[in-house]
């Protein structure tokens, strides 16, 4: 397939409720399921659609993200012919310096340059906080079959699957069969129990339509995002359709939804839905040794990455790379990120340890499923209960 898409990843995402996990990283680089980061999911969708390049818009410095993406070679984005990961960081900072207007002119120019130079027929917009595994080829086929100009991916969910004050929106469809989009609506205003079409903030757009919108967004000083785009398309009365996604989905908006998404992976159906489908999820794999499980290890329904040494009990938990779990350590319903050390005679339940946390001998931490305890990066947990922040 010839390169036909110019992907734009809007990674300026809502991250306040994910603190302290997002203190020093964007939502897109949140670690997930032992060896992934959230960006791997949209990137793998792009890989499987044979995208050659991608443009990223990031609110902060993006350090952790760049460290993960590097040249983009894992996702086939590093070709010398037409390839490249075009990064645009500090979007918020630049905007704040632009005086009277919301955005500085480069914000629009960057989008314009990327799309016009990429020789693509379509623009694909995506984010990373709605965890899913979307097949862009099927989306494109639907888009063409419908003679659509803009096609938005949605999933039928219950209102209760999203947090109370969610930032996400729902599509209002003309009727489910035609899939024509009539409006967007904030989900936060909707009643519990209602079923809705969650706008997955992933869309495919004809290049010309995108450039027309860009002109308008610049004139009106608007954010370039999926909701504004839908609004614009409806106002212009251009054809816009919804494409139904039926796979695994989780809106990661706060600590609990992040925790739940990870725990979901311990259910084989969810795990298979996300990872064992036709298109694999790709991540930057690091050099590693296999994980060693000692004679005293007791494992029950848990997942691990390579390079760990496990001597204790691990139940219903996810353990990232290079983690050591000592004898008589008990870890249950927890997420342990890479480089953490859990000494012997410890107890952790409903806990999220960020990277490189040290849990000293005799320490106990117990959260609840609704309110897991989070220990931020480089923290130390002592036996008497005091916690040294990293």
């Amino acid at each position: 397939m010839r390169n036909k898409i110019a992907p734009i990843l809007n990674l300026v995402e809502f991250e306040d409720k994910l603190k302290p996990l997002t203190n020093r990283r964007p939502v897109a680089s949140l670690p997930f399921a032992c060896r992934y980061r959230l960006i791997d999911f949209p990137f793998s969708s792009l890989y499987n659609a044979e995208a050659e390049s991608a443009a990223l818009f990031i609110s902060g410095s993006g350090h952790s993200l760049y460290d993960h993406i590097r040249s983009g070679s894992v996702w086939g984005l590093d070709s010398l012919v037409g390839g490249g990961v075009f990064t645009h960081s500090q979007v918020k900072l630049k905007s704040s310096r632009s005086g009277d207007t919301k955005h500085d002119p480069f914000y629009y120019e960057d989008h314009y340059n990327y799309v016009t130079k990429s020789k693509a027929d379509y623009v694909v917009m995506m984010g990373s906080s709605l965890l899913s595994n979307i097949q862009i080829k099927s989306l494109m086929q639907f888009h063409n079959d419908k003679n659509s100009e803009v096609t938005v991916v949605y999933k039928k969910v219950l209102r209760s699957e999203l947090i109370k004050d969610t930032v996400h929106s729902a599509l209002i469809l003309n009727n489910e069969n035609s899939g024509a989009v009539e409006a967007v609506k904030d989900i936060a205003t909707m009643d519990n129990g209602e079923s809705l079409y969650l706008n997955m903030e992933t869309m495919i757009i004809e290049k010309k339509t995108f450039l027309d919108y860009l002109q308008k967004a610049r004139t009106d000083d608007m954010d370039i995002n999926v909701d504004n785009f839908i609004q614009y398309t409806l106002e212009m009365e251009r054809p816009i359709y919804g494409y139904e996604y039926t796979g695994y989905l989780k809106a990661i908006e706060d600590i609990k939804s992040y925790y739940d998404a990870n725990m979901d992976m311990l259910d084989e159906d969810n795990f298979n839905a996300l990872f064992y489908r036709a298109d694999p999820v790709r991540t930057r794999s690091k050099n590693s040794a296999p994980t060693y499980y000692g004679e005293t290890a007791v494992i029950e329904n848990a997942q691990f990455a390579n390079d760990c040494e496990i001597f204790g009990t691990v139940k219903n938990s996810l353990v990232f790379r290079k983690v050591t779990v000592g004898e008589n350590a008990h870890i249950e319903s927890s997420i342990i990120m890479q480089d953490s050390v859990i000494e012997e005679d410890t107890y952790l339940k409903h806990v999220i340890l960020d990277k490189h946390v040290y849990v000293k001998k005799g320490a106990r931490l117990e959260g609840t499923p609704d309110n897991p305890i989070v220990i931020s990066k480089n923290g130390v947990v002592y036996a008497k209960g005091e916690i040294e922040k990293g």
Binding site: A33, C34, R35, V74, E268, F271, F275, Y276, P280, V281, R282, T283, S285, K286, N287, S288, A289, P290, T291, Y292, Y293, G294, E295, A297, I299, E300, N301, A302, Q303, F304, A305, N306, D307, E309, L318
Partner: protein
Amino acid sequence: MKTETVAMILAGGQGSRLGKLTKQIAKPAVPFGGNYRIIDFALSNCANSGFNDVAVVTQYQPLVLNRHVGNGSSWGLNRHNGGATILQPYSSVDGEKFFKGTAHAVYQNIDYINQKNPEYVVILSGDHIYKMDYEKMLDYHKKQGASLTVGVIPVPWEEASRFGVMNTDKTDRIIEFQEKPENPKSNLASMGIYIFTWARLKQYLSDSQSKSRHMDDFGHDVLPAYLRNSESIFAYSFEGYWKDVGTIESLWSANMEFIDPNHELNIRDRDWRVYSKNPNTTPQFLTETARVENSMITDGCYIAGEVNHSILSHNVKVGKNSVVKDSFIMPNAVIGENVTIEKAIVGEGARIYDDTELIGTEKEIAVVGYGEEVGGYSDEK
């Protein structure tokens, strides 16, 4: 910058004593230790020793090996001018260039070495498990002003007759070479590691062609010629773990030793890492029914049965009520339910169907070949 050293890893051997494990792939490409292939140890040693120009010379069944080595990026060897290069036999106006032996393989690729024009050429074999700093050996070679330095390792006297042994004088100069001698005069076994001063070796290899004196093999031809001509040859003694995994039993026992978290190789040492090409795969999933003890398990595995003192390479599946004990399972093997595997090596992509027993002994390890299917419906049953 001038190239000082070129490393040539000779990876063309078949390794016929590994039986069906080397039927489709060359010995250096045989999986080891869950996450590696045998050649990773030599390649990682090169990378850790600061060698940038590394050629992997392949011949026998090279497909898997070539894919594995690629451009050497997994070992950080894809830098600037150097990098990993795969050299294969080719045909030219001089006829076909299939390799008749180790030295012949180097001669046939003389164009590659000439292009680099190095001071020294390091000859390595791609089929041993060890960690070694070749730079120290190179320093020794320079200090001695040697034209050849041979890496040797002391072996128990009773085993010396299985190796090529080097008889040295008090200054570690090699004065005699015995190939698999009945009565060894020394217990210093050749590791198949040679550092040559290139200008000298080049002369020997080139002259042999015009004078039709055969210089096909380093041990058999080149070393004796060097000795005869009183070249300065020194032995460099290596101490540490070094294992030839040339037979089924030695491959199995090297893997079993490797499980030990206190193994001398110290695989988790961050300062001397063993690199490999890491596949893109999922986390390890151990279900509620899994029992795992004293074992090494790799990403992509799915385990619902019992694993005891074994190594499972990536993407291995073990079904419910199955037991894997004292065994080495290669990548992508699928083990069904109610299967018992003991003292076995299971090849890449093999399938062991439900209710199968596969039990070997220390003297005769059970082996399942690549992609082989065992059990299930068959006429033989």
